[in-house]
């Protein structure tokens, strides 16, 4: 079943290995083949047109501005209205979407994009190069934007004619296409179609498969089919409603009773119960996230390498995966999740081994253990369980952990001001290229986050990150990132615990739903019978 529009030729997806994932080097002609992992049983029947889908999610939509949205459901809804030049497939690869492809100059600093012909905004106006230039420069120039740093490599842009966009970079930048594909760079009409930005985003007009039919911010939302969508025949659905169901039990109950058709954010605890319900299908899709135990290296005990390595050896990730995530999140090894480019399945890992843990601790400055605290956000059952498991495991090293559970805003403030000792959080990654994550987690000064608030500062790691950014050759990049993964594993500034998936459940009459590792889902291919 062809989910993604084929340009001039098809090429099967090369299974993601350290080398093969370099879709960028292979150019824009690769085609993603959709494998039916996680979709419903009757995947081969013909899609039916029509129907209204009810998609229950935990929060409403507050904002339709791609450059300023970052809350999950804002982002996952924005991309139904506005589309990017490249789009991520469920397999985690990039395919050309609003462009036919691109070429790169030999010095790696100039990219030329050819727009796909026939793409229109929902008001009928054609997509032009000027719109692209306007959109990306707007995002790049907005210092207050949550993701504008992704466009930092852009020096200038201009349109040549209506169908060609040329972008000049300040330096060769390997992650560039990934950065460009991020939802923040989704294309909006030039000058907001002549309106004030606020007014425009109240009734947004994009190239996406859906338009906003009714919207009360944070309260209710209905999308309707975009009649001039550039993929003919799609979307299949007439309308999509997004009821807000904050309580996770409610979402499951409403799904089971048929009040809603799809439930988002299905908790791990509910998965086995849903799997045994024959009217419902469960989809567990890999994400770009990694649950991490992070340690504040400004404190003497965590500045000590042997202490960190001891802790890494003392944590049984299999137990956490089984008990805290109910087996839905595989135990972690590398700090790269498997779905991100250049993940190295052979990266050395400090395995669960109590004897090795004790040996490491005895070589440290704290051989008799110490007291510390573990900060978690309240309301997160998985982290509460994980923290308690970690607490009891570290007890064996005489490391006495007190759990500190704060509400979300207080939790963020606590670690962003370095008041924490250890904390649990997941890695932040919005693109398929690993650069974003590596900068955020390994580069204390430039990343803006002090190595994810651990203060990890290893010049070798920093060099590897920088090298990976400017190396264009995929094989070389793979080697660089393999080295980085091994280094971070040995240094253990943070300990990857598990790879959390995105879990959805839908009624059996819903077909074609697939999750994408970025957390979103393409709804133009979804149909109901």
């Amino acid at each position: 079943m062809q989910d993604y529009p084929g340009p001039l030729s098809r090429r099967d997806l090369i299974r993601r290995t350290a080398i093969g994932a370099g879709l960028l080097a292979l150019g824009p002609l690769a085609q993603a083949c959709s494998s039916n992992s996680g979709s419903s049983a009757s995947g081969s029947s013909t899609p039916k047109r029509g129907g209204t889908l009810s998609f229950g999610r935990s929060t409403g939509v507050f904002l339709f501005d791609p450059a300023n949205a970052f809350a999950d459901n804002d982002v996952y809804t924005c991309d139904k209205i506005f589309e990017s030049l490249y789009v991520t497939t469920p397999q985690g690869t990039l395919v050309p979407w609003l462009v036919l492809g691109h070429t790169v100059s030999s010095d790696g600093k100039t990219y030329t994009f050819t727009l796909r012909p026939g793409v229109k905004f929902s008001d009928g106006k054609p997509l032009t190069a000027d719109d692209v230039v306007f959109t990306v420069m707007r995002c790049a120039r907005d210092t207050a934007g949550p993701l504008s740093y992704l466009d930092v490599a852009i020096k200038s842009m201009h349109a040549t004619g209506t169908q060609t966009v040329v972008i000049e970079l300040t330096q060769p930048w390997a992650p560039f296409i990934s950065d460009l594909s991020c939802f923040c760079n989704a294309i909006i009409p030039k000058n907001f179609n002549g309106q004030e930005p606020k007014a425009f985003f109240k009734e947004p007009i994009g190239t996406g498969p859906f338009v906003v039919k009714q919207w009360t911010p944070g309260t209710s939302l209905t999308l309707a089919r975009n009649p001039v969508y550039w993929q003919r025949g799609k979307p299949y659905l007439d309308e999509i409603q997004f009821p807000i169901i904050a309580d996770q039990n409610q979402r499951i109950i409403q799904l089971k009773s048929g009040t809603i058709d799809i439930a988002g954010s299905v908790p791990g605890a509910a998965v086995s119960g849903l799997k045994s319900d024959s009217s419902v299908t469960v989809g567990i899709f890999p994400s770009w996230d990694v649950d991490l135990l992070l340690m504040n290296e400004k404190l003497p005990m965590f500045a000590d390498l042997h202490v960190r390595r001891a802790i890494a050896h003392a944590i049984d990730r299999k137990a956490i995966s089984a008990a805290a995530t109910f087996g839905t999140a595989p135990p972690a090894g590398s700090f790269f999740p498997p779905s991100v480019q250049f993940y190295d399945p052979h990266a050395p890992v400090l395995e669960y081994n109590l004897a090795a843990a004790k040996s490491e601790l005895s070589q440290s400055h704290f051989p008799h253990g110490f007291s510390t605290s573990l900060l978690i956000p309240s309301g997160n059952d998985q982290y509460a369980s994980t923290a308690q498991i970690i607490q009891s495991e570290l007890q064996k090293l005489n490391i006495r952990v007190a759990i500190q559970s704060l509400d979300d805003a207080a939790y963020h403030q606590e670690f962003q001001t370095f008041h924490h000792e250890m904390f649990l959080n997941w890695s932040v990654n919005d693109i398929t290229d690993p650069d974003d994550m590596c900068t955020f987690q390994c580069v204390p000064k430039g990343g803006g986050s002090y190595s994810y608030y651990t203060n990890y500062n290893n010049p070798k790691a920093i060099n590897l990150v920088r090298l990976g950014e400017i190396t264009q050759n995929t094989a070389q990049r793979a080697r660089i990132y393999a080295q980085l993964q091994a280094l971070v594993s040995a240094d253990a500034p943070y300990i990857p615990l598990d790879y959390p998936p995105y879990s959805y459940a839908w009624r059996n009459n819903v077909h074609g739903f697939k999750g994408i590792p970025s957390g979103t889902y393409r709804l133009e291919s979804v149909w109901m019978d």
Binding site: S272, A323, Q388, D407
Partner: protein, 292 residues
């Protein structure tokens, strides 16, 4: 907090130390009161004896025996980390009953004393205090407690302080109304005319005649405090893990509501029983204090 009816006893009992004993005797004669006391006593005993009765530690994890139903080895089954539910329920009793009984002390003492003072002296002090009381009562209950716990930080300390700062108002209101009635009585005026100082009048005449109301209310108040702690747990602001507490056990069990119902149901039972017991005590006492 919920406000009780202000039912001032129409006739304050005469001033004498013997009156206290007669109230106590009459209380124990009330079957309602005794029934309530038995229930409360039983549960408290179980909680106190937790280390002796329970077979496992409350935090003893067992990753191979999670979410099991009741069995011979685990009378109430195990939770999602393999901990014995019966043991956790017992130990939770220690945490919760301690909070329930201890957290009401400050509001009781402070609120009563303040109520007597403002009721007796009146004036601008009275007006200002009652305005403050009105402001606190006007806050939807959870909002104020939630805000305070946010500020002070979750956990036992935050809960204690939040309750201390908000719960005293009801006592002040009750005691003040009662004081207003008692103050006007002839024999009080006579005592003052006879040269008794304010302090003596307050201590020997006003206090004994007003405090029974507070004692009755305290029974219900303990239940409200327990419910507040439980609700804070539901909102993620309660006792920090892994310390067991009935409220957070219910909250944690919520994820398994559709598959393992007992995890959320069972910890609610002792709360309900304590509530029942304390309410019976309060009822019994109210009956006893009612003029015949």
């Amino acid at each position: 907090m919920k406000l009780p009816a202000a039912t001032p006893s129409a006739q304050p009992i005469a001033e004498s130390a013997g009156r206290h004993r007669s109230i106590a005797r009459r209380a124990f004669g009330s079957r309602t009161f005794v029934a309530g006391l038995c229930i409360v006593g039983c549960i408290t005993m179980l909680a106190v004896l937790a280390p002796v009765i329970s077979r496992y530690g409350p935090n003893q994890q067992n990753p191979f025996h999670t979410l099991e139903g009741p069995s011979a080895a685990h009378w109430l089954g195990t939770d999602d980390l393999g901990r014995d539910v019966w043991s956790r329920v017992l130990y939770a009793g220690r945490t919760d009953l301690f909070i329930g009984f201890a957290a009401v002390l400050f509001p009781l003492i402070f609120g009563t004393l303040l109520g007597i003072m403002v009721g007796y002296f009146g004036g601008r002090f009275d007006t200002f205090t009652m305005r403050l009381v009105d402001v606190i009562i006007a806050f939807p209950f959870f909002v104020l407690v939630i805000a305070l716990v946010f500020i002070i930080g979750p956990g036992i300390r935050g809960i204690f302080i939040a309750i201390a700062l908000t719960d005293w108002v009801v006592y002040t209101r009750i005691i003040r109304s009662q004081t207003l009635v008692v103050r006007e009585l002839d024999w009080v005026a006579a005592a003052r005319a006879g040269g008794l100082s304010h302090a003596r009048v307050l201590r020997r005449h006003i206090l004994p005649n007003t405090i029974p109301q507070a004692i009755v209310y305290v029974m219900s108040d303990i239940v409200y405090v327990l419910l507040a702690v439980v609700t804070l747990g539901y909102l993620g602001l309660g006792i920090q893990p892994p310390t067991p507490d009935w409220g957070s056990m219910i909250s944690e069990g919520q994820s398994f509501l559709t598959t393992n119902l007992w995890l959320s149901t069972i910890p609610g039972v002792p709360i309900v029983l304590i509530g029942l017991g304390l309410s019976l005590c309060a009822d019994g006492l109210t009956d006893v204090l009612r003029p015949p």
